[in-house]
């Protein structure tokens, strides 16, 4: 099997995912094509050498529809021979795209591929693509569908994470993210978004609230209590009858931020490394996706991490740094508990609670974040994982070369 080498990681800053957010004026296909153009210029690529562009996108409808990956390839002015495919594994789409690109290289079917993702949540809002999972009565009944926020509160209830626990975690995410920005830790991967006149539109992650404290979070009302009262708590309890009630601990301050953004990872084989004199920054050791119980939905990261570790013949203790997407604070707390991993190794530069989670792109973003940090600390191994809708998890292990 060939090694899938990582040459470059690129991402846009994350704009607030609302009409007043800085990236709202930028179409998602432009965000994606800016990432591709940047990959091209940073690596002096002749794009006809790229076999495929795999992009995650969770709401592939409207302006994100009709295969945004191929559309972005064309818009980026890449060679017409470069194909593009859009994939959806909900929140892990960006990582899944990297894994697929890696698999193409590992299997010898691609020499050079891009995996990444894009989501403009301010323009194509959460939930836009509907779906039988939540709307088809038979499916929703049989799978005990509850919205993800209810799942997060169910997880916190089942594993006894208090409001204090999740808020403390959120405060640390904000602190770490703001420290990271202060020390310019994202500079290797981040590309400013500029307009056609080269005027800057957004250069930093604008969602952050470094001033966040336990008191300021304490003032926030739980986000999913009302939703729970309308029947979803009861559905969760039908599935988890050992619980008397669901404790609603999550809110806007300890859940991932809604943002716009795009990211890409350039992967290839040794032949391409030699041809372009590219430094192989890391290789893909293993990756895995799993399915888990869909009502609690968010316990998949530990399972997928263990599966990927097993494939790589490694233990959790062999991993130097983890990126576990901060969809909700309780998800990360559960992940650390299940794998017995210390917080000092997890999301060391903050995560989606502080920086935001552009659904289709996040997996590729945090892969870049952990690789940059491994290089800075001169460490070797990183594990990237995300919880996934409908009860899944995806994980990837990388190792520096």
């Amino acid at each position: 099997m060939n090694e899938a080498l990582i040459f470059d990681t690129v991402r846009t800053p994350r704009g607030k995912g609302k009409k007043s957010g800085s990236l709202n004026e930028v179409a998602p296909v432009q965000l994606a094509s800016k990432v591709l153009k940047s990959i091209e210029s940073r690596n002096n690529l002749n794009t006809e050498d790229v076999d495929d562009v795999v992009l995650g996108c969770v709401h592939p409808i409207g302006e994100q529809g009709a295969d945004i990956a191929r559309t972005a390839v064309l818009e980026a002015g890449w060679d017409q021979t470069v194909s593009g495919v859009q994939v959806d594994r909900f929140c892990a789409s960006g990582l899944e795209a990297v894994n697929i690109a890696a698999a193409q290289v590992m299997s010898g079917q691609s020499d050079l591929s891009v995996g990444g993702g894009v989501e403009s949540m301010s323009r194509v809002p959460l939930g836009s693509s509907g779906g039988a999972w939540m709307a088809d009565p038979t499916v929703a009944y049989n799978s005990y569908f509850v919205p993800q926020g209810i799942s997060a509160d169910l997880l916190a209830t089942k594993y006894n994470y208090t409001r204090n626990d999740v808020d403390s975690y959120a405060v640390s995410s904000q602190k770490r993210a703001s420290e990271a920005w202060k020390n310019n830790k994202f500079k290797n991967s981040i590309i400013p978004v500029k307009d056609q006149n080269n005027l800057p539109i957004l250069e930093v992650d604008e969602y952050m609230r470094p001033e966040t404290t336990m008191q300021s979070l304490g003032a926030l009302e739980p986000s999913f209590e009302k939703m729970g009262d309308h029947g979803f708590d009861d559905v969760a309890i039908l599935k988890y009858p050992e619980l008397e009630s669901i404790k609603h601990v999550h809110h806007a301050g300890n859940s991932s931020g809604i943002v716009d953004g795009a990211a890409g990872v350039l992967l290839g084989n040794k032949k391409m490394a030699d041809k372009y004199e590219l430094k192989a920054r890391a290789k893909i050791r293993s990756f895995a996706s799993i399915g888990s119980e869909p009502t609690i939905m968010l316990t998949g990261p530990a399972d997928s991490a263990e599966k990927a570790l097993k494939k790589a013949n490694m233990n959790a203790s062999d991993i130097d740094l983890f990126e576990m997407n901060e969809a909700f604070a309780a998800v990360v707390l559960r992940f650390m508990e299940a794998l017995n991993v210390d917080h000092s190794k997890v999301n060391v530069n903050g995560g989606a609670i502080a920086l935001g989670h552009p659904l289709g792109a996040t997996g590729a973003i945090i892969l870049g974040t952990v690789l940059d940090e491994l290089e800075r600390r001169d460490l070797s191994t990183g594990l990237i994982t995300l919880c996934v809708g409908a009860g899944m998890g995806t994980a990837t292990i990388i190792e520096r070369i």
């Binding site: 709307a135 088809d136 009944y141 008397e244």
Partner: protein
């Protein structure tokens, strides 16, 4: 044409009167055949300008003949029978000529489904009234009612009506678009004729290509959020029972994702499954078909009910003493659709009565209740019992309970707890019935058990449930429970004789 259920009269102006005759308000084989034959006859009428549907007895109180439906032995037969009527009416609806319905009197579900085929419905001002009957305890529509009503009045309103026992006045019906015109009785036929004369052709909105886009779409923003939250609230209130509720909303959702013809097939398939479902049949047979004329007197019902509730609460307390977690016990009761969890119900009862329900082997249960009394946890009346009751109607299981009775490390499955609560309840009904078995038959008791005493309706009654779910298994499990849990599960000879002979 004059058939036993339907009369068809063609007049000179090319207007056909289709009159449903009064003798039979139950939809059965003959009714379906007559309808089919009449519509074929109308379709062959060359000078046809329009059809006026009316009924001879001026009501639309039609409903399926349940004896007939339940006698249909297999899925194919059921599906073919109901789709025969659906196809006939669909043919009428798509003749291209205006179909007008004279609406008067009481309109029940089957009648509503028939008049929804008309392009125009003119209601009698003086006596029109719509009676909805909650689908939860019976059947979903089968003559296109789950397809035409939402296409006519919207998804949300249709679901609410079908899941209610609402009575809709003629004014409300007009507002809801259930009828299009309301006129005095003596103007009904003139108005109908006038409509036909003015409209040389007629198409339902759902058959009109220009209007298809304005049909309700399950994936519009509004409808999508409606479905997502409505499914949760229906699921949470029915648990795994009352399948008609799920199939009603499924028919609507699935049907409105496609066109009327596919929607009609979708509805018919769900109906075919539903009528063969054990819970549905049990409820129909106990509530609709076998309703006994001989009513249990108030005082007997009262005694049954009192004993039933106290026994149920006591079973909850005993489960607690067996180390079962309070949440599991309460959730089991709710899933079974008892009026409340057993411990919450216990809080509303006179504590001494619960103690009386406990036999000598339950000394620990009695002592638990006494120790709760000592610390003033007397139940709802003092806002403290197995639950803490807060202002605004909120309550939670008393956190101190776990210190009083430790919870076992290994918990039973929710199914085991449900089974025990249900068996205890059924055995309680049998125990009390024993005294009256000479006076009232088991079917009468089944009816009152679910109607008045508090046994969950989906069971169809104690005897019915045992019959449908296995007599042998019931006896064996009761014997097992009697050995391990106490004499309340002992079936006496008389009851054994009755259930073995069912």
């Amino acid at each position: 044409m004059n058939l036993s259920n339907i009369k068809v009269i063609n007049n000179d102006e090319g207007i056909t009167n289709l009159v449903i005759k009064s003798k039979n308000t139950l939809i059965n084989d003959e009714f379906i055949n007559d309808f089919t034959e009449s519509i074929d006859f109308i379709a062959s009428y060359k000078n046809l300008k329009g059809v006026i549907i009316s009924t001879e007895h001026n009501h639309y109180d039609y409903d399926y003949d349940l004896n007939f439906l339940l006698s249909l032995k297999n899925s194919e037969l059921i599906f073919n029978t109901i789709t025969k009527l659906t196809k006939a009416l669909r043919k009428l609806e798509t003749l291209g000529k205006p179909i007008v319905s004279i609406v008067s009197g009481e309109i029940k579900l089957g009648g509503l489904e028939i008049i929804l085929h008309a392009h125009h419905r003119i209601a009698n001002k003086s006596n029109t009234i719509f009676h909805f009957k909650n689908t939860k305890y019976s059947l979903i529509p089968s003559i296109g009612g789950s397809q035409r009503l939402p296409r006519q009045i919207g998804i949300n309103k249709s679901v609410n009506l079908y899941l209610s026992d609402k009575v809709i006045s003629v004014e409300e019906a007009l507002e809801l678009n259930l009828v299009n015109e309301v006129v005095d009785k003596n103007k009904l036929f003139n108005q109908a004729k006038e409509y036909i004369i003015k409209n040389s052709s007629s198409l339902q909105n759902w058959d009109n290509k220009k209007l298809l886009k304005s049909q309700p779409n399950p994936f519009s923003n509004e409808n999508l959020s409606y479905f997502i939250s409505k499914i949760a609230s229906l699921h949470s209130t029915t648990s795994d029972h009352y399948p008609a509720v799920k199939l009603l909303i499924s028919s609507i959702y699935e049907g409105l994702n496609t066109d009327i013809n596919s929607g009609l097939k979708i509805e018919a398939r769900h109906f075919t499954w539903l009528i063969q479902n054990i819970e549905t049949k049990s409820m129909l047979e106990t509530l609709v078909l076998k309703k006994q004329k001989k009513e249990l007197p108030e005082n007997i019902i009262h005694n049954f009910k009192k004993s039933f509730r106290e026994n149920y609460a006591a079973e909850g307390v005993k489960l607690l003493l067996n180390g079962v977690s309070a949440a599991l016990i309460e959730n089991a009761g709710k899933r079974l659709d008892f009026e409340a969890g057993p411990l919450k119900l216990a809080d509303t009862l006179d504590i001494q009565c619960i103690i009386n329900q406990l036999d000598s082997t339950d000394a620990s249960a009695a002592s638990l209740i006494r120790s709760m009394q000592k610390i003033n946890r007397n139940g709802l009346s003092t806002n403290k019992g197995f639950y803490d009751y807060k202002e605004g109607g909120k309550s939670n299981i008393w956190p101190g309970l776990i210190d009083l009775i430790p919870t076992a490390k290994i918990q039973p499955s929710i199914g085991e707890v449900e089974k025990r609560l249900l068996f205890s309840a059924i055995n309680n009904i049998f125990y009390n019935y024993n005294k009256y078995s000479d006076l009232y038959n088991s079917k009468a008791v089944d009816y009152f058990a679910i109607k008045n005493i508090g046994l969950p309706i989906w069971t169809g009654g104690a005897f019915k449930w045992v019959k449908e779910n296995g007599i042998k298994e019931f006896i064996n499990t009761s014997n097992e429970y009697a050995k391990t849990l106490g004499s309340r599960f002992v079936l006496n000879e008389n009851i054994l004789k009755i259930i073995k002979s069912m």
